[in-house]
Symmetry: C2
């Protein structure tokens, strides 16, 4: 009897299936050679810096280089100061920390309907109550939110989790006016907005409106707990395995992260990863990589959009997003995308059913597909297979 | 006007001072060349694996290699199965996660008096109440703990945090019998023991008793919440900047970590770091590094022990530990090691005062020194400077 081996990776796909359900980048887009060069750069001089306990806020030279890099991005829309950044081991960790630092057991968190399918687990681990807020083609419906907030019968939120740009799963982009409205509501009702903006830099045409933290011009909302935490990630623009991300917020909120026991005790949350990403920036390799991702993903988004329009016209509703990983397909009323999954797998295609993205059991006739893992040709084949089972 | 630069590292030491207060390894002990070789090995083949989202429990081939490595360690004392391990981004993260997963706001955690000076911050971030348990030369006083647990007037613990091996700050080692007693108490009273065992492998002579998780032979205590979580770390045997550690526990407790939103959403907690440490193991470089650390730290511990016996005889009480980073010095009654710090700095030496390690304001006449950051010669000079101010 041999012991079964433990898996190396999160992903697992049945033979013969094109699984559009995974939001993973394809292997050929991992800049392994660039990261090998970065590791040489960081470790080659046998500098003691990359391997020692790091600064609590994050590796200083990298915070400064990252602020410069972000300041030059059209999707950021203005200058970013390094003191408004805090480095994390990925956006998931930032969300988990925000739940620790800004909420307590039995507090309430509002999320979008639909939202990122794993977010519920993080908040439930913290003993939070989850309430969904309606969205539409422009993302979070801030008028509906305002009504919920003024309704004394609904528990008031301590946190609100939103994905304002190229939403996961819907692909929607929150317009500037709604962004300002959301911040105004956060200030008025004293809750903290966690803005998961990991797709912010992945625009394939005109840039989206700025990160929420760029619009939060209150001098310092930390004392009141009202404010915005914008989350960025290197998972989508460099490599998920690195586990590196950043928080952008007012210095008061950043100070709360820096004062956390977790960040202080560990000497920062991912010091070595930060020295590697710093080397990528210094060597000019991060911009190159981002340019390549925008070009490749943009082509894939076009290919899928074309295939959907050709193969699934009249069968599904969808809007092709201007960036990010995901398209959200709504099938005819009464369709059940969970029940359809075995049939889809038999036809050699898979997706993530809409029900996974709902806190209240909605979206049973929707599904999410991703452009990140497969090339345009495979995506087109997958859409044809999808059409064969929806027709 | 130029903006002051943000720091690169956690550590900061005034010019001319030998600061024995930091528990950081010295720069020359960072295996930068070995890690550069590991990075080449992991990335050189342009394998897609190191940069993708990793398995939730941790990179499988590394879990298996780590289990083998630990099984061969005298300080572990028996075979370790990979399914009893879970990879973290350092012991601090494991502690933070345990507080999230096994406690809620306003629960009580017991800690040793004295204990790791940053642990309080982590537990306070989670809204926990902290109560100290007495220790003696053999570490946690489990008889005193038993009395506290049977005393209805003291809040019952949900968690108990202990450093059983080469305790930080005291250097004490919990004997086998007390380890068994502690586990028995955890089962009887239904609390979770977080055993911070990051110095377990750093013995400079005979090995310490086994990790607590090796002694917890209940089939699966996860349901009851009673059990032991042993924490290991690569910070002390490889490099702190990597942020890599492991949890060892029963499969039920491991399952709770694997089911966490944080670990699932990120694809493991430090996948890339795990592929590097895996490469170190495959290349035989981790054992080499550990042998070197034991040799160098053992010499330093001897040098400091000799210098303390010679220079501070009659002025301080101390016991030279058989492993780890720290020595705990108790000065005469009435001495105030916080008040002495400026004088010490003027004399070119520093330390961490005893009061930092107490939840209740004790240990005002004690201080902690570390052997990790300086060479034997500098350590001897520092002890002479210390003697000059304590005499």
């Amino acid at each position: 009897m041999t012991t079964p081996h433990l898996p190396a990776l999160l992903i697992s796909i049945p033979e013969g299936v094109i699984d559009l359900g995974w939001g993973h980048p394809s292997a050929r887009l991992h800049p392994a050679a660039a990261l090998a060069a970065a590791a040489d750069y960081a470790l080659g001089g046998e500098s003691p810096i990359p391997l020692q306990y790091g600064a609590v806020q994050g590796f200083g030279p990298f915070l400064e280089a990252l602020a410069d890099f972000l300041s030059g991005q059209a999707a950021v829309g203005g200058p970013v100061k390094p003191e408004t950044l805090f480095l994390t081991a990925g956006a998931s960790q930032a969300i988990d920390m925000a739940a620790t630092l800004f909420a307590k057991t039995d507090d309430t968190v509002y999320v979008e309907e639909p939202t990122y399918y794993l977010i519920g687990r993080i908040f439930l681990d913290h003993g939070l109550n989850i309430i969904g807020v309606p969205t539409d083609a422009d993302g979070l419906n801030t008028d509906a939110l305002a009504e919920m907030l003024s309704d004394g019968a609904i528990p008031a939120p301590r946190l609100l989790y939103t994905i304002p740009t190229y939403q996961n799963p819907s692909g929607a982009v929150l317009p500037l006016q709604r962004r300002r409205h959301l911040i105004e509501l956060a200030r008025r009702y004293g809750f903290t907005v966690i803005a998961d903006e990991v797709y912010q830099l992945l625009h394939y045409g005109p840039p989206p409106p700025p990160p929420l933290a760029m619009l939060d011009d209150a001098p310092d909302a930390a004392g009141s707990g009202a404010g915005v935490i914008s989350l960025g990630s290197f998972s989508k623009i460099l490599a998920p395995g690195l586990r590196l991300g950043w928080v952008q917020a007012s210095p008061g909120i950043i100070g709360r992260f820096v004062d956390s026991g977790l960040a202080f005790s560990g000497g920062g949350l991912n010091h070595f990863g930060a020295t590697l990403a710093h080397a990528m920036l210094e060597l000019g390799l991060l911009s190159d990589n981002l340019d390549n991702l925008r070009r490749v993903y943009g082509q894939r988004m076009d290919a899928v959009g074309d295939a959907l329009s050709t193969e699934l016209a009249g069968l599904v509703d969808f809007a092709k997003p201007g960036g990010g990983y995901f398209l959200w397909l709504t099938v005819r009323d009464g369709a059940d995308t969970v029940a359809l999954l075995p049939t889809a797998n038999e036809a050699g295609v898979s997706y993530r059913p809409g029900a996974d993205f709902s806190a209240s059991g909605g979206f049973g006739n929707a599904l999410r597909i991703s452009i990140a893992l497969y090339e345009s040709e495979e995506l087109a084949v997958a859409v044809r297979r999808l059409a064969s089972i929806l027709r």
